[in-house]
Amino acid sequence: MADKKRFLDRDYTRRQFLKLSGKSLAGVAISASMLNAMGVTADAVAEDKVRVWAFPQGLLVVNPDRCVGCQRCEINCTLTNDGCCSSYISRVKVTRNLTYSRNGQGLYTEDTWTYFPDTCRQCETPACGEACPMQAIYADENGVRRVDTEKCVGCGACTQACPWHMPTVNPVTHKSSKCIMCGACAEGCPSGALSIVPWDRIVSASQAI
């Protein structure tokens, strides 16, 4: 625990955050200044409701309590990456959680307004990449896993292999639409449910007393 606390409070490096990326923060003691920077509560962290991902631009924080279901994340994802507007091929996915999710939550249930964006976990050992028969998913110089559209044959093995079914084969181009961490979803999120906290702010927060 002492090590974990020190991990987030000082001696910060992006590499250390990469180790936490996509994993549970529950049990990790996080300083008030860091909670503030991430826009989350200690309760949400303790109950494992907050996920963070290390992006080149900063730390992506997903906070379901702030999600208002507007789907602008999906809109901005597809406008930016596909040149069209769509939900199905979006790399961030909120619609499937919005109406009646696989967990039995969403607007058509009596659940307490639980809906939120799913994002690519950028797994250390990516099931999508492992499953791809064409070895079309590769890591670029920033460690971001991308789809080589020359190699991709649109077979959908990545979709099936991903535990969260995040990559989607575009039915028109027949290419996988895996997340490339461009950040358009968070940039356009009007509620901060998706936010990218810049690294310099993380550094400041980690050094605050």
Binding site: V40, T41, D43, A44, E47, K49, P64, D65, R66, C67, V68, G69, C70, Q71, R72, I75, N76, T78, L79, T80, D82, G83, C84, C85, S86, S87, Y88, I89, T95, R96, N97, L98, T99, Y100, S101, R102, G106, L107, Y108, T109, E110, T112, W113, T114, N170, P171, V172, A184, E187, G188, C189, P190, S191, G192, S195
Partner: protein, 731 residues
């Protein structure tokens, strides 16, 4: 499969579902419907071409057109609405009107590859229409008939899968109650009697999933324009552009408006602890959703206690549906899970008028639940959920107003005792008198199930007044016309059965003009958004509006001036603009962007933004004038269809006299004031007649009859409409 038809903006396909034959066919949207834009425009054109205007609105020959437009699901903010056009079963003249719903189903429908769906014929058993991209089917819904919309929507979503969106009618629609709606998402609904029309066809609902995309000509331009809009132009709901609680960055503070978010205003019931709204400066996208906080606007700060989040529609950064868990309702075994906005939730106290106790004393019927002043909210939550469960539509509040006026004048008891002796004593008035939220479930159940004379409220104002003699002082014990008499609860704008919707009380002659133009409440927000924005009148509202429309086009609240040409320009801008928004589809609660949040723009909005979006989405250059021209074509068609309906169904040949006649109370209220004095918005009869003259001139309509001239119609390629008017002796 994905559907991209190679067309930018439009999906390219219209679906036709015939419930009599079971046939499902597709036709091209373009080029036929391009002059009509989409949404409302497509709907009106289909009804004009295919449904004679003397058709029984609830017969097999009637049709409903569900439609979206070229901007729906294009990425443009606030483009999540669907318009449903059909013939009215309840308002005077039984003419063309439309229902509109937000939520998320418009996006699903567009992604499935459709601009519109024409529903025609009549099924012989309950069905729902299932759309999964190009796979469309009519499915059995026998097991859903009789059930409430929440259960039906949940069942349809669960049955069809996580990415399906759904909408359904309630028992009110099944029982052909005129005041009925279709409900989607949570509390989003389209009204105007669409429930009864679908009920007559035995359509319980629709379920839609779309895996396709909307093709965009210049996608990055759409993204950048959207960012610019959210940063510099958009405020709270109704585009109120000045926060009403002080924020450090804001030059002004509004007295009260729909920008309620501020530091200290919280979503108290967020699952992991309260979320503070914080400051929401102009120029920042990621805080836009905290601006509105509609719950606090609707009910005061007591709403924070039960607020979980703020919901709303696809693509919209302004969240006007506060989502609550209202715990006190659990004590009454009622659902605590509620969400709605405006009329369906804020006026439930009207169902609880003061009553007379056993000592003959007038007694208040409501009480606090947990905190001082929370009755409006708790009862609002209960009533909105009950109305949606049964699928009852409120006619923009006239349903409540009719009840309250009938109860408080004694007419209600007199009518019930005369028409159905014994019913009065069977009604559990004790629930009303004790402020019990179960009273709301009782009244909506009675209306939806057509139980007793009480349920006549579900006929809608026009037929209710006729049946109960409320339209004639000599036919009811109150000795008044409910359309005309001065009463705090009188919402009627005219004699057609629907109320004003931000009419003379907010927008003087302009608001009255466009409140009169439809066959339901107008739902035009162009002007209320400006005058209630919170921006100071002399510093912002007047200069910005005069920048667009010229000197004297706008007045201060409660101190208006006689009609002039520039006010007519404003009215025409709003009237045609509403058609544009319901065709595009864009939310008229937000658009147009008349005033901005941004000081660096001198708070001047961007009325060309809609055209910029159209250009970027479709890939052809549109100007504001182009859009206004196409929108006016729809306005003209609305007027022609109204004239023909009034002729065929009522024998009327004069819309000025028979459609556009404003209620007397609008002129007669506040007897201590004269029109144009500070402190009143009562209209002046002579000024109103002049307003109509100028309005008809501006619209190209005959001054005497208010009916479009042939020259006007030919200008909009509507010669066939002129021919029909001529054939009927209307021009």
């Amino acid at each position: 499969m994905s559907v991209i038809n190679g067309i930018n903006g439009w999906a390219g396909t219209i679906l036709r579902v015939n419930l009599t034959t079971g046939s499902i066919t597709k036709e091209d949207t373009l080029p036929k419907y391009r002059p009509y834009i989409g949404g409302m425009g497509i709907g009106y054109k289909v009804i004009w071409d295919e449904v004679p205007l003397d058709t029984d609105p609830l017969s097999e020959a009637a049709k409903a057109v569900f439609a979206v437009g070229p901007l729906t699901a294009s990425g443009v903010p606030c483009s999540g609405r669907m318009t449903i056009s059909f013939l009215s079963c309840w308002s005077k003249g039984y003419s063309i009107l439309d229902a509109h719903m937000g939520g998320h189903i418009a996006h699903a429908f567009k992604y499935a590859g459709y601009d519109a769906m024409i529903v025609e014929g009549k099924s012989d058993h309950p069905v729902y229409i299932r759309i999964e991209d190009d796979k469309v089917s009519i499915e059995d819904a026998t097991d859903l008939w009789g059930k409430g919309t929440f259960e039906v929507n949940r069942t349809l979503a669960e049955k069809n899968g996580p990415e399906f969106d759904v909408a359904s009618i309630g028992p009110a629609g099944e029982n052909l109650v005129h005041m009925s709606n279709i409900v989607t998402s949570f509390g989003n609904s389209g009204g105007a009697g669409i429930g009864a029309l679908l009920g007559s066809k035995m359509v319980k609902g629709i379920a839609v999933r779309g895996t396709g995309a909307v093709k965009i000509a210049r996608p990055m331009e759409v993204r950048l324009l959207s960012n610019y809009m959210i940063k510099d132009l958009v405020g709270g709901n109704n585009n109120h552009t000045v926060p009403c609680h002080a924020q450090s960055w804001s030059e002004y503070v509004a007295t009260n408006n729909r920008w309620q978010g501020a530091p200290g205003i919280t979503w108290d019931k967020a699952p992991h602890g309260p979320i503070d709204s914080g400051e929401q400066p102009s120029g920042v996208i990621n805080v836009a959703a905290y601006r509105c906080n509609k719950g606090v606007f609707d009910f005061g700060e007591v709403a924070e206690k039960y607020t979980v989040k703020q919901g709303g529609c696809s693509s919209c950064p302004v969240r006007c549906y506060t989502e609550y868990e209202m715990d006190p309702l659990a004590e009454y075994d009622l659902p605590t899970h509620v969400s709605n906005t405006c009329m369906p939730i804020i006026k439930m106290l009207d169902w609880y008028p003061d009553h007379v106790d056993e000592n003959g004393e007038k007694v208040k019927s409501t009480h606090d639940f947990v905190d001082a002043g929370d009755a409006k909210m708790i009862l609002g939550g209960a009533g909105s959920r009950a109305a949606d469960e049964y699928g009852v539509w409120c006619n923009y509040g006239n349903l409540y107003e009719d009840f309250k006026m009938a109860y408080t004048t004694g007419v209600l008891k007199d009518v019930i005792d005369r028409l159905n002796p014994g019913e009065w004593d069977e009604i559990p008035w004790d629930l009303m008198e004790t402020g019990d939220p179960r009273w709301l479930w009782e009244v909506y159940r009675r209306i939806a199930m057509k139980e007793g004379i009480f349920s006549d409220f579900g006929l809608g104002t026009y037929e209710l007044y006729e049946k109960w003699g409320l339209d004639d002082p000599e036919k009811n014990i109150a000795g008044v016309s409910f359309y005309d008499f001065v009463n705090a609860n009188n919402f009627n704008i005219g004699h057609n059965g629907y109320p004003r919707h931000h009419g003379p009380e907010n927008c003087w002659q302009a608001g009255t003009l466009y409140s009169m133009m439809y066959n339901r409440d107008c739902m035009i927000h162009h002007m209320i958004n400006v005058v209630s924005s919170g921006a100071p009148y002399n510093e912002i509202v007047k200069p910005v509006m005069e920048h667009w429309f010229g000197e004297g086009c706008v007045d201060p609240q409660q101190h208006y001036t006689p009609i002039n040409e520039n006010k007519i320009k404003v009215a025409k801008w709003a009237f045609n603009g509403k058609q544009w928004h319901d065709s595009a589809t864009l939310c008229n609660w937000m658009y147009p962007m008349t005033i901005a949040t941004s000081k660096k723009r001198d708070y001047i909005g961007d009325l060309d933004l809609d055209a910029k979006y159209m250009s970027a989405v479709v890939g052809e250059d549109y100007t504001r004038e182009d859009l206004e021209f196409d929108s006016e074509r729809i306005s003209q068609l609305l007027r022609v269809m109204t004239a023909i309906s009034f002729k065929l169904n009522l024998g009327s040949t004069n819309l000025r006299k028979d459609h556009d006649n404003v209620s007397d109370w609008v002129f007669d209220k506040q007897p201590d004031f004269k029109p144009f004095e500070e402190g009143t918005v009562k209209l002046d009869r002579e000024d109103w007649e002049k307003s109509l003259d100028l309005w008809y001139d501006a619209m190209g309509w005959d001054r005497e009859t208010g009916i479009p001239t042939r020259a006007t119609l030919e200008k909009f390629d509507l010669a066939d409409a002129a021919d029909k008017l001529e054939e009927l002796g209307l021009i």
